[in-house]
């Protein structure tokens, strides 16, 4: 991190971009004494004790959001071959316990990073963001009790959502009365398609934000300076995309529910 010469401004990167990512220091293998990597000994193959690290660091990755799925998968398989409990089934109790903890860490990390959305959410959480929609508990609680969950409608959707909710309400009433309205159903199908398009379109917005974010990471890694304001701006951009995405997903679910019933 080459932040030293820019200390005069208070808006510099707080260090959260890279500094937090402690590279696992090389330690001697508990079993054969050779120098080892973080997860297993290159000399004797023994699994090493687990250490609490974030998922990116677990895979030895920088905090970049663009990553190659095939490469991640290959790494996941390669590590599984060393860490999985089946490989350590006849080893000492201690090794079995480490293997259990390390392979659950590996599986949790892989599951989180391989999906673009959970990967983004995870990174944002590392950045200290509590995504509004993140707590599924709140969503499900609201759905169950029928109370409206506090949701911010994306401004550009306000008008359409208002109309759509009217259609949904009308449709529910019709169904209750046992008088399905074919015209309304067709309108709802059209609205659904429109929402679906918007939803799909968000992926591109998200990818654009990823690229901006990764550029910051690259700059920091190469010793360049990163302004705190820039980091926050990209971070908030991603939060915004995810919030809109979640809103649209819930909307699609509601439409499907009404159409299916």
């Amino acid at each position: 991190m080459a932040l030293t010469d820019q200390k005069k401004t208070a808006q510099l990167d707080s260090g959260i971009l890279v500094v937090n990512q402690s590279r696992p220091t090389k330690v001697n293998c508990w079993s054969c004494g050779a120098m080892r990597a973080a997860h297993f000994c290159q000399e004797c193959g023994k699994v090493q004790p687990p250490t609490p690290v974030d998922y990116f660091t677990f895979f030895g990755l920088p905090f970049r959001l663009n990553l190659e799925p095939e490469k991640l998968e290959g790494e996941f398989y390669a590590l599984s071959r060393h860490l999985h409990p089946d490989i350590n089934a006849i080893n000492s109790d201690r090794e079995q316990q480490w293997s259990l903890e390390k392979s659950s860490q590996l599986n949790d990390a892989y599951r989180t990073l391989k999906d673009p959305i959970t990967r983004t959410e995870y990174l944002l959480r590392l950045q200290g963001v509590q995504l509004e929609e993140q707590s599924k508990a709140a969503t499900e609680e609201a759905r169950r009790t029928g109370k409206l969950k506090k949701q911010v409608v994306p401004p550009d959707l306000l008008e359409q959502v208002f109309e759509l909710n009217m259609q949904l309400e009308e449709m529910r009433m019709n169904k209750k009365m046992g008088e399905p309205d074919r015209t309304l159903e067709r309108e709802l199908q059209d609205s659904k398609k429109h929402v679906q398009d918007r939803y799909n379109g968000l992926v591109e917005e998200l990818h654009a934000a990823w690229n901006e974010w990764d550029a910051l990471i690259d700059r920091a890694e190469q010793g360049g300076s990163v302004l705190e304001d820039d980091r926050i701006a990209v971070r908030d951009k991603m939060v915004d995309v995810l919030n809109r995405r979640n809103y649209l997903r819930n909307l699609l679910r509601d439409i499907d529910e009404v159409l299916e019933n």
């Binding site: 089946d86 006849i90 903890e101 499900e140 609680e141």
Partner: protein, 634 residues
């Protein structure tokens, strides 16, 4: 690789098997009757002894109150779960069962929990393996339906412990099958395993890639299988008998069992024949006879087999795959022999299903491969690794009875999740956590796994304590929980109250009660077997003395044989099987020449035109000559 053999066991609803990796091929170990399948039937005989397998079958028909089958359906379940089963299965539960208690089943005047009954079956398989290896077997890989929940898995593990087996791994049945299927496969492919057994249905989608068997999605129904088809046919027969013959035999357990046997035979026949006949003798000398055509049968079972469609579609959806993207649909389980089932699989996956595996044995063979991998593997298996998933989401009951999912279904296991809890009242020192498994939104609709009390929280204002609870699903699909209070750094104490299942103490007691403690039992059986062999040998020697060949021996040889015989007779009543074996070996050596002479004379007689079979060469080829085994054994 450790020198102790680890076996693979398929503990099935209808049949169970034990298999082992011989060289680089898995093989099924037959029982004493020479058969690979051990029927999962347990009976208590008139002397209070437990009988397992084919031998227990006759009790099902003659004295049904002494026998039980399909006990797998009751594993890990409470009395309120099994109400429906009880209408269809002649399970006799203990009369004094309390709510929440582990079920107990009556066999005559005794009661046993489902894990204990499963343990009897496991013990039989263990015995078969020990007989085969002539060495103790204490470790096993046991298969379970992929869709088994935590309680059902725990119950299976308990059964292993009660039987004196350390269950090194529970493997999902379809996954085990895929190991057997993929043993020789070198190319990457995506397969669907459709496993319709006696009582359970599983569908698993796997990616096979350079020896890694990665389950992508799994689904199923732990109460759907061949049993349900049998029950449909039984209901029809009972209805017929009541209607046409005006006899109500529903309460007559013996007749119901006879009908059950008849419908199973008919069901099996209808997989190859166009029609089959039910023929059952009724009390009072009447007969119930009815012909069923395959068309009628297929129409009848359609609703049952259609129940597999939902889980298949869900698994495909979860895997994010279309039928076109599946390279092979593999059939597992006896019920996939039914042509209509095959047709359904063909429709679902738009391809002819792979039926090259023996659907009864493939799961046990896969378990043997997994056992081999756990033991350290060999050239044939060194690249193989199984990555399985948890079939059901794990959740915590939230305020108001909702469920917060913390580990989603189809997550690769081991998997973990960390949750934080706090207090709601000032000075509160306990927090109760309810863990459930399932996909529904309300905790009451999910399967209750356990209630935890986080105790010993330091008194603090409400909301201030932060209790970190770690949930970890291990490679067996079984949940472990640990907790810590973060502000005080204190390990919070957890008292786990499993909602269903035996406590550790109960299992320990069952192990103690069981007479079959591994070592002692193995020793005792070895003594019995060695004695039997000694007796056979001594009898053969008596015959040998009367054979003309005896006179051809030198007096020194005859005297030596006499000494070895005395030595064997001296130890045969003792409890030391190794001493008996040593004496047998000595006598065997001493009688080698005698055996050769007897063979020569037998061959000589045969050459003179007599039939070889009538020549006195001991017990004949059916039971190998105890003196000269090598010469006569086929």
């Amino acid at each position: 690789m450790s020198n102790e053999r680890i076996v693979g066991i398929d503990l099935g609803t209808t049949n169970s098997l034990v298999a082992y990796m011989e060289g680089d091929r898995p093989v099924v170990i037959p029982g004493e009757d020479g058969l690979n399948l051990v029927p999962s039937v347990v009976a208590l005989d008139e002397n209070g002894q437990i009988v397992v397998g084919s031998a227990a079958r006759k009790y099902l028909i003659e004295t049904p109150e002494r026998a039980v089958y399909s006990v797998k359906r009751l594993m890990g379940r409470g009395v309120e779960d099994v109400k429906d089963e009880l209408k269809l299965f002649p399970f006799r539960l203990a009369d004094d069962l309390a709510a929440g208690e582990v079920l107990r089943i009556k066999l005559s005047d005794k009661t046993f929990t489902p894990p204990e009954i499963s343990a009897f079956i496991l013990r039989q398989l263990k015995r078969n393996a020990e007989r085969y290896f002539a060495a103790p077997v204490t470790k096993a890989v046991v298969t379970v339906p992929a869709y088994f929940n935590d309680a059902q898995r725990q119950a299976t593990k308990d059964a292993g412990r009660i039987a004196g087996l350390e269950v090194l791994r529970l493997v999902n049945e379809p996954t085990a099958a895929s190991l057997a299927y993929g043993l020789d496969k070198k190319n990457a492919e995506t397969v669907a395993v459709y496993d319709l057994g006696g009582g359970t249905f599983d569908i698993s989608i796997l990616k096979l890639h350079e020896g890694i068997f990665e389950v992508i999605a799994t689904n199923g129904d732990t109460h759907l299988g061949g049993d349900d088809i049998d029950n449909l046919l039984i209901t029809i027969a009972l209805h017929d008998i009541q209607g046409d013959l005006a006899v109500d035999v529903r309460r007559n357990a013996e007749i119901v069992q006879a009908i059950r046997k008849a419908v199973i035979d008919a069901k099996i026949a209808l997989s190859s024949e166009e029609k089959a006949t039910l023929d059952v003798a009724l009390p009072g000398g009447g007969r119930y006879q009815r012909q069923i055509t395959r068309a009628q049968f297929e129409q009848l079972i359609q609703p049952v087999i259609d129940r597999t469609v939902g889980p298949v579609r869900q698994a495909m959806k979860d895997a994010g795959l279309t039928p076109k993207q599946i390279n092979e649909a593999v059939l597992v389980g006896g019920s996939t022999r039914i042509p209509r089932v095959r047709q359904l699989v063909q429709e679902l996956f738009e391809r002819t299903p792979h039926s090259g595996l023996n659907p009864d044995e493939v799961v046990a063979l896969g378990a043997a491969i997994q056992a081999h991998i756990l033991a350290g593997g060999s050239e044939a298996t060194k690249e193989m690794l199984l990555l399985d998933v948890t079939p059901l989401s794990l959740g915590i009951e939230s305020l108001g009875g909702g469920v917060v999912k913390i580990i989603h279904r189809n997550s690769t296991i081991p998997a973990s999740a960390t949750e934080h809890f706090t207090t709601g009242v000032e000075g509160q020192t306990n927090v109760a956590v309810h863990v459930v498994q399932g996909e529904r939104e309300l905790a009451s609709d999910c399967r209750s796994l356990a209630r935890f009390d986080l105790k010993g929280i330091p008194p603090m204002p409400a909301g201030l304590p932060r209790i970190e609870v770690k949930f970890l699903i291990d490679a067996n699909g079984i949940l472990h929980v640990s907790a810590r209070e973060l502000r005080s750094g204190k390990e919070a104490e957890i008292q786990v109250q499993p909602s269903y299942g035996l406590t550790d103490e109960q299992v320990e007691n069952m192990i103690l009660e069981s007479f079959d403690n591994a070592e002692e039992d193995f020793r005792r059986r070895q003594v019995i077997e060695a004695r039997n062999e000694a007796e056979t040998m001594l009898t053969a020697l008596e015959k040998g003395r009367k054979n003309p060949a005896w006179q051809q021996l030198s007096s020194q040889e005859r005297s030596n044989i006499g000494k070895f015989e005395t030595a064997l007779r001296a130890v045969v009543k003792a409890d030391d099987y190794q001493a008996i074996r040593t004496a047998i070996d000595a006598l065997n050596q001493g009688t080698m020449h005698l055996a050769e002479l007897m063979m020569e004379s037998a061959v000589g007689t045969a050459l003179k035109g007599q039939n070889m079979d009538t020549a006195d060469v001991g017990e004949g080829p059916e039971s190998p000559h105890p003196i000269a085994q090598a010469e006569i054994e086929r």
